[in-house]
């Protein structure tokens, strides 16, 4: 048994830690020892005491879905009361409104709609680029891309190539949940295996797409599953380096079928532990994102001292957490203030983490 401090020293010096070592520090590491190592590694990757954020929105073109994930309160079956699907024209109008408010990133997802034609998605990309050039499309999760392949009869690489040709360059990392089939079979058996998510990402990165990687924890997973998740995305990142950042969040049980089994949110200390271990384990990821939105503003601020260097987006619109009665709102001004109060300069970024504008922190005499 190697002492957790030795493992952390190795990581601090730039050494890659193994699955066994990752599990050891996740199970037995002291919270602030993890923070300390993660924070040091953060400053070797992002040297400035600066935290990035993006002005973004997360609309959903449809809530129609047939994968029945038990952790989700957002979806409706085709024909079910409350289902909706917007036209491309309606969505483009939505993006224009967002752009007028300064939004630069649109993270667009469904539902996994069983019958929408592939042309709908291509048109969505093309018209967005043409008609709303201020925003950068960050569209369609892996499940939707697999859905497009089914509807169109194309392969996943062919679907991705057509989306690329339409102008899409970045895809969101949602739908990963926990990349451990033991867990996936329980919480999302129709959504596909870990390999499905990883294959779409691999094919996308091969073409040149950039994407984020996400993880949703705090439900039925064990520590081993979390390490497995981190390990498979680290392995894929070694191949093409296509991931921009890692974004973990905790399961929100409200209104979901899983609520009966898991009635609580994971604790803030668990989130901080996950942020720190992500930074330590994912030695080939440039950015780790803290989420004021999914964990609360105060926890988000603290996470900036636990290895995270990004504060996520301002989220003009969000529907999925809201369906689980979990609502946090901010605006650009408050987002900058929160970063400043946490002790960092705030830097507005693009989808791909290019810095647009730095808001320096002014020392207030307190």
């Amino acid at each position: 048994m190697i002492a957790t401090t030795e493992i952390l020293t190795k990581a601090r010096k730039g050494g890659r830690i193994s699955r066994e070592e990752g599990l050891e520090i996740l199970k037995h590491g002291q919270l602030l020892d993890l923070a300390d190592a993660a924070n040091e590694i953060r400053f070797t990757k992002v040297a400035e005491p600066q935290v990035t954020f993006v002005i973004d929105t997360n609309p959903n073109y449809s809530n129609v879905c047939n994968v029945d994930c038990i952790f989700c309160a957002f979806y409706r079956h085709p024909g079910e009361e409350g289902e909706y699907t917007y036209s491309v024209r309606e969505m483009v109008a939505n993006f224009k409104q967002a752009a007028a408010k300064g939004v630069t990133t649109v993270l667009l997802q469904g539902g996994v709609h069983p019958t929408l034609p592939f042309e709908y998605y291509l048109e969505m990309v093309e018209r967005t680029i043409r008609e709303v050039p201020e925003v950068y499309p960050h569209f369609f999760s892996t499940s939707e891309i697999i859905g497009m392949a089914k509807v169109s009869g194309l392969t996943v690489p062919q679907v991705l190539r057509r989306l690329w040709d339409a102008g899409l360059r970045s895809i969101p990392g949602g739908g990963a949940e926990i990349l451990s089939d033991r867990v996936k079979r329980k919480i999302s058996h129709l959504k596909g295996s870990s390999a499905d998510w990883l294959n779409v990402m691999r094919e996308a990165h091969k073409i040149g797409f950039r994407s984020t990687a996400t993880m949703m924890y705090g439900h039925l997973e064990r520590d081993e599953d979390i390490i497995e998740h981190l390990d498979v995305i680290r392995e894929l990142q070694d191949e093409y380096g296509g991931f921009t950042s890692f974004v973990p969040w905790s399961f929100k049980p409200g209104n979901t079928p899983l609520e009966k089994v898991i009635p609580h949110y994971a604790t803030p200390t668990r989130y901080l532990q996950i942020i720190a271990i992500s930074r330590i384990y994912l030695d080939n990821f440039p950015h780790i994102q803290a989420s004021w939105f999914s964990e609360g503003k105060k926890t988000g601020q603290i996470a900036l001292h636990f290895g995270a260097d990004d504060f996520g987006g301002t989220l003009l619109e969000e529907n999925v957490h809201a369906a689980a009665n979990f609502v946090n709102k901010t605006n650009t001004e408050e987002c900058i203030q929160l970063i400043h109060d946490a002790g960092f300069a705030a830097a507005q970024r693009t989808t791909l983490y290019e810095i647009l504008k730095i808001h320096p922190r002014v020392e207030v005499a307190a």
Partner: protein, 629 residues
């Protein structure tokens, strides 16, 4: 040398060295701590201090807050709870309405409210009396210093008399509210109708002298400066040096909302909250506990604060109103299971406590008790913490918790071991005197033989020492005296003829004296002169159901710890000694005076004591005298 801290801010290193030497931090040190960008190192320093004091324990209490009225003669800008008589939202609770709020599981009732213009003094006394009679198992924590001062002025009684009358009907402790921030500048700006630092401190010190321990608070995040926060902490630290009566410090994050304070109308940042917890843990070196009051701090920050120096989550707080009215974003009451979940999530053991921080119920496996006295420090210098969780607890409480299967191993007071020996195995270590100990002392106004029929105060901490005293009195000197058990900590002993003190308090009093008690007897020496044997105060024992692997790990930890300690007692225990006023040399000599290994002489001493206990117990059955447990 940096104790596992990799300082990013080198400016913190000299402060950490001071802390490790047991030196007191200055206002400038406090400013450096507050201003550091290195939040994690600050947290690690505070967490190290927290662990040395509280082990892995985080306390909570099943409490109920009663706000008997919101009618108030004051109009403080920061408060949107109070109102005036006749306003539509004004209420005044009757005693029946108050009692109807209380449920039987409650262990602490926290009473504070507005100050109405027309209530008679008897009504305030009646609330305390009625609650105490209705729920004798609950401790009544009542009335802030502001209210006490209001009673003193309105009913024209000295503060001491106000407190004595309340104490007589069941008041046990006092809340810490109304301190706000100890700054005349801020008081004039925001709280000009409230009492200032001088009166607040005077009320609390008076309470401490009467044996009423109290809490303390600081309201921050409005218009105060960092210097003013630190001055506040330093004033509390000085008062604590005088009386030792503060149980805990509670930083209260200012809640904006409809309070009329405009200058900084926003919530404090999480970083400021955590820094305030950590800085207070480091500045308040004489405070036993720091509380993360989740109602004000939010659940989020309170849970993280448990790794930044806080060891108390407050409680279930049924009926919390004041912070809620000002827009606090916590739910109005966290269920106990939520508190327990948060404490466990922070890697700690949830410990349900009473108002005096006595542990009542633990929710953890593999708990090792730790006697929080200097003489036990050598056992814990190198303690494995993966399998076992450490709970600091006075000897008598450790025995009670072991009986309830809540503590699994530890150095048990010998009387407790006799009671537990059917379910526990001895481990080969003990705390035994060679000839004297200096930490089990009788401070007396009379010589041994003149104690016949006199009243002796004993504290709540001890079982074996009480029995030893009884045996010495009856068998060695042929004297009968009455024992009266008091809570440990602040007490007024002047009415008693003698006082038995153990542990650090006895060491401190042995060095500095206890006013009015000129004769000082070392019980271990008395025993040695009589029996020519060491005295075994405590023996290490472990529950038989604990697995062999875990037991082996504990044994190795203790061996390793003792080896480290005996190589250099001062390195291991010097800081602890200094906190109770001992020089390093005195600490060294004190610890060298013990046998830590259970050898033949110690076994013989245990047998002799057991026999004498049996003889006195059969005697007391004949006398029909009630024996102290």
């Amino acid at each position: 040398m940096n104790g596992g801290i990799n300082f990013r801010d080198g400016g913190l290193i000299p402060i950490w060295e001071k802390i490790q030497r047991g030196d007191r931090l200055t206002l400038d040190d406090g400013l450096s701590l507050y201003r550091t960008p290195d939040l994690i190192s600050l947290g690690k320093m505070a967490h190290a201090v927290q662990q040395s004091q509280s082990g892995d324990a985080v306390y909570y209490v099943l409490n109920q807050k009663i706000e008997h009225t919101n009618v108030c003669v004051l109009s403080c800008t920061f408060c949107d709870f109070a109102t005036k008589k006749g306003e539509p939202d004004a209420y005044e609770m009757t005693t029946e309405e108050i009692l109807a709020r209380l449920t039987p599981e409650i262990r602490e009732v926290h009473i504070t409210g507005g100050m109405p213009p027309d209530w008679p003094w008897e009504r305030y006394v009646e609330i305390v009396r009625a609650i105490h009679e209705h729920l004798p198992n609950a401790d009544v924590k009542a009335y802030t210093a502001v209210e006490i001062d209001f009673f003193h002025k309105k009913f024209k009684m000295p503060i001491e008399e106000v407190l004595r009358q309340l104490q007589a009907v069941g008041l046990r402790t006092m809340p810490g509210g109304g301190a706000e921030i100890f700054s005349e500048r801020v008081r004039k700006l925001l709280f000009n109708q409230k009492i200032g630092a001088k009166t607040w401190l005077e009320v609390h010190k008076t309470a401490h002298r009467l044996g009423i321990p109290t809490n303390s608070t600081m309201l921050y995040g409005h218009v105060e400066t960092l210097e003013e926060r630190l001055v506040h902490m330093i004033k509390l630290r000085e008062a604590q040096d005088e009386t030792g009566g503060f149980l805990t410090f509670i930083p209260l994050a200012f809640q904006p909302g409809d309070t009329g304070i405009k200058p900084r109308n926003q919530f404090t940042s999480a970083i400021d909250d955590l820094k305030t917890i950590a800085v207070s843990r480091l500045m308040l070196d004489n405070f036993p506990h720091i509380k993360a009051y989740w109602v004000m701090l939010t659940e989020e920050v309170a849970s993280v604060a448990l790794n930044f120096g806080a060891d108390d989550m407050d409680g279930t707080v049924g009926g919390e109103r004041i912070a809620h009215d000002a827009g606090a974003i916590s739910p109005t009451a966290l269920a106990t299971d939520q508190i327990v979940r948060i404490i466990r999530g922070a890697g700690k053991i949830p410990v349900e406590r009473d108002a005096f921080y006595n542990p009542l119920r633990l929710l953890s496996e593999n708990v090792v008790g730790k006697i929080p006295f200097l003489n036990s420090v050598p056992f814990y210098a190198n303690m494995e913490n993966r399998v076992f969780k450490i709970l600091p607890v006075v000897p008598r409480r450790m025995g009670l918790l072991a009986e309830q299967l809540q503590v699994d191993a530890g150095p048990f007071s010998l009387m407790d071991y006799f009671r537990l020996e059917d379910s526990m195995d001895l481990m080969g270590w003990c705390i035994a005197s060679r000839d004297q100990v200096k930490s089990v002392m009788l401070f007396s106004k009379e010589g041994w033989r003149d104690l016949e029929g006199k009243r002796i105060a004993i504290t709540d901490d001890t079982a074996t020492s009480v029995k030893l005293l009884r045996i010495l009195l009856e068998k060695k000197y042929g004297v009968n005296a009455t024992f009266e058990r008091l809570h440990a900590g602040v007490n007024d002993y002047s009415d008693y003829d003698a006082v038995l003190l153990i542990g650090d308090e006895a060491l401190r009093r042995n060095k500095y004296g206890l006013h009015g008690f000129e004769l000082v007897y070392d019980l271990a020496r008395e025993w040695y002169d009589w029996q020519k044997l060491p005295f075994v105060f405590a023996v290490w024992a472990i529950r038989r159901t604990i697995s062999a692997d875990a037991r082996l790990m504990l044994e190795q930890s203790i061996s390793r710890s003792l080896a480290t300690s005996e190589a250099d007692f001062v390195a291991v225990a010097g800081v602890h000694g200094r906190t109770i006023g001992l020089t390093d040399r005195e600490t060294q000599e004190f610890l060298e005076g013990f046998s830590y290994r259970l050898g033949g002489r110690e076994i013989e001493a245990m047998a002799r004591f057991r026999q004498l206990v049996a003889e006195t117990e059969s005697m007391s059955r004949v006398d029909g005298r009630r024996e102290e447990k």
